[in-house]
Subunit: 362 residues, 2 copies
């Protein structure tokens, strides 16, 4: 078995869990679910997949200190900061370069930092299957989550029948990647049994993903080659990234590579998985009271149901007579939001961004 | 014109404006509407009616320090604390004794500490009419507010035709005091034009109200006589009240005197008046934004209407996607309440009362 690497993508913007999450402390640096930061839990989960010196974290400059604090197990040199976010294709390219300098032919997994997965044994088993698939052929491997609801918040992966079996688990050929569907379309996907959720988990060998960049994203490929050359000649990443990263095309890895490649396979997964996309999603992870309220910290509900109330630092937060709210108190800012309109937090933060006095709350 | 006195009743329990109001700082000690505590505004409003040495405030022991701070204009000896609340009839008796020791035949007004009245000139003019009425005959005078809505939260006063004219303003005979009506009944009251809101504002001479106690509340009358005797023999109120006040019957002045007396007259009033009974009522007193939201302090609403958001001390409180909420942030406690169910704050406070860790928030 060749050497394996894991690159954890930890570059969230800290919007969806505001006011607990902020720009410098987004969701993966907070214990939104569980007792440790999501990133710390993610690192612990992959320690059985790759040795710690082979685990990288890609983050942004403003979050680097927080990432270091959340990853005491990892070598400091493995925590790499993008000068700014350039979407997931550029981050994938950076991940590729980081692994390539250590082991040019090795396979690596790219994994999100802020998902919840409790069944660690099955997760590690299927990552092993995905690595084996990537090491067996010139393929781009993705782990697809078997959908349980017609969720319109995810992209989907359509399989095209069995490809190869590894340790009794079949990897499937992929017909296509599709973007977030309408509800009717998602219901069709769910009924067909041929679709999986795209959870943003990928495994591939350096030469295979590099070939995909060359074929499907030549401009990005050329930019990455410049970064690689600059880092080699200077001996550090920071100067090369600072100079060249801003010039890389801003595009998602799904759009740049996955939707265009024909050598994609999917490892179907049934372990519990939740990307915890916004405040309403945490309700699944904490025991509710008899009225369906999820209460964290010094939180009370009188005459209301299905609320999520999070109150920190001994502050009392009380909801009276209201249903289906998210209420989050932090020392300097409090959010009161309907569950149904949690996505409008972004509009609020945009207003704060435009306000001289508001910026400090971002 | 004989000497006139005013006794301000400042003994609220601090429940309806929680968490801004607390047991020791109820509504009348807070600038809920306006820039000064409601009590301070009330004192300023009656300084044109009686000289400051003739203005008393009756409060409770736990609020006495706050009352002193809110009434720098009044002699400290005029601020008198009940050992505990014994409802409004006992407080009326105490007011009577306080005035009686100074001027046994004088008229005094009893006024709530926490109402909002902006038209001070008209208010003072009608208080003058009420004093003149009380000084002209053996009558219990009340100021009745001409209703503008079929409010079910007030008691009503039914008039029985003109009684006497004072300075061009007619005082009306009273047929009866009625308790809070149903909506249908209140609509009838409003349509008839014969009813006024009972705003808890009374003017009477000491001997007249004393006779009413003797006739309609003999047990309370006897208790008050004991308090009077004990205070005379000891020379102070505190010991007499501590010993005897707890023995006084707990009953409202409406029920003990007003509903039973036949010598009641009402001075109809059309000045602006609001008892600001609970959080939703403050919306009338502050300019709303274009979506009907009332924002106080560092408060924001994104995609929601008709909310009241009060945030103190530089803390940001943001409402997203919700309508018709009251959100109040204070340094140690935050309330989120639907406007429609603001009365359920009391149930919340009852739960806090029963909880070892909750008492400190009362």
């Amino acid at each position: 078995m060749s050497e394996r690497f894991v690159v954890i993508m930890a570059g969230g913007r800290g919007e969806r869990f505001w006011p607990q999450s902020r720009r410098n402390t987004p969701k993966h640096l907070l214990p939104i679910v569980g007792d440790e930061p999501m990133l710390t839990q993610t690192v612990a989960r992959v320690l059985g997949v790759a040795p710690k010196e082979n685990i990288f974290v890609i983050t942004t400059q403003s979050q680097l200190a927080g990432v270091r604090a959340a990853c005491p197990a990892l070598p400091a040199g493995n925590l790499v900061a993008e000068p700014m976010g350039r979407d997931t294709a550029a981050a994938t390219g950076l991940a590729m370069l980081l692994v390539k300098q250590r082991a040019p032919g090795a396979a690596f997994a790219m994994l999100p930092a802020d998902h919840v997965i409790h069944d660690v044994a099955e997760y590690q088993r299927l990552l092993g299957v995905a690595f084996a698939a990537a090491e067996s052929d010139d393929v781009l491997v993705t782990i697809g989550i078997k959908p349980t609801t017609p969720d319109t918040g995810f992209g989907y992966i359509r399989q095209a029948g069995p490809w190869k079996e590894f340790d009794g688990h079949w990897a499937m050929a992929v017909k296509r990647f599709v973007e977030k569907p309408s509800l009717a379309t998602a219901e069709g996907y769910l009924a067909s049994g041929e679709y999986f959720w795209n959870a943003g988990m990928f495994v591939w060998r350096v030469p295979v993903v590099e070939a995909a960049f060359k074929a499907h994203a030549p401009e990005l490929y050329a930019g990455l080659a410049k970064v690689e050359a600059a880092a080699k000649s200077s001996g550090t990443w920071d100067a090369a990234l600072a100079a060249l990263y801003p010039t890389l095309p801003k595009i998602s890895v799904d759009y740049a590579l996955m939707e265009k490649s024909t050598n994609v396979v999917v490892v179907p997964a049934t372990f519990d998985w939740d990307d915890v996309g916004a405040w309403p999603a945490i309700a699944k992870h904490f025991p509710p009271d008899a009225a369906g309220n999820v209460l964290r910290g010094l939180a009370m509900v009188e005459g209301g149901k299905n609320n999520i109330v999070v109150s920190t630092d001994g502050h009392l937060t009380a909801v009276v007579g209201a249903d289906d709210l998210v209420v989050v108190h932090t020392p300097d800012a409090t959010l009161v939001c309907t569950k149904a309109r949690a996505q409008e937090i972004k509009a609020l933060l945009k207003r704060l961004e435009g306000d001289a006095g508001g910026k400090k709350f971002l």
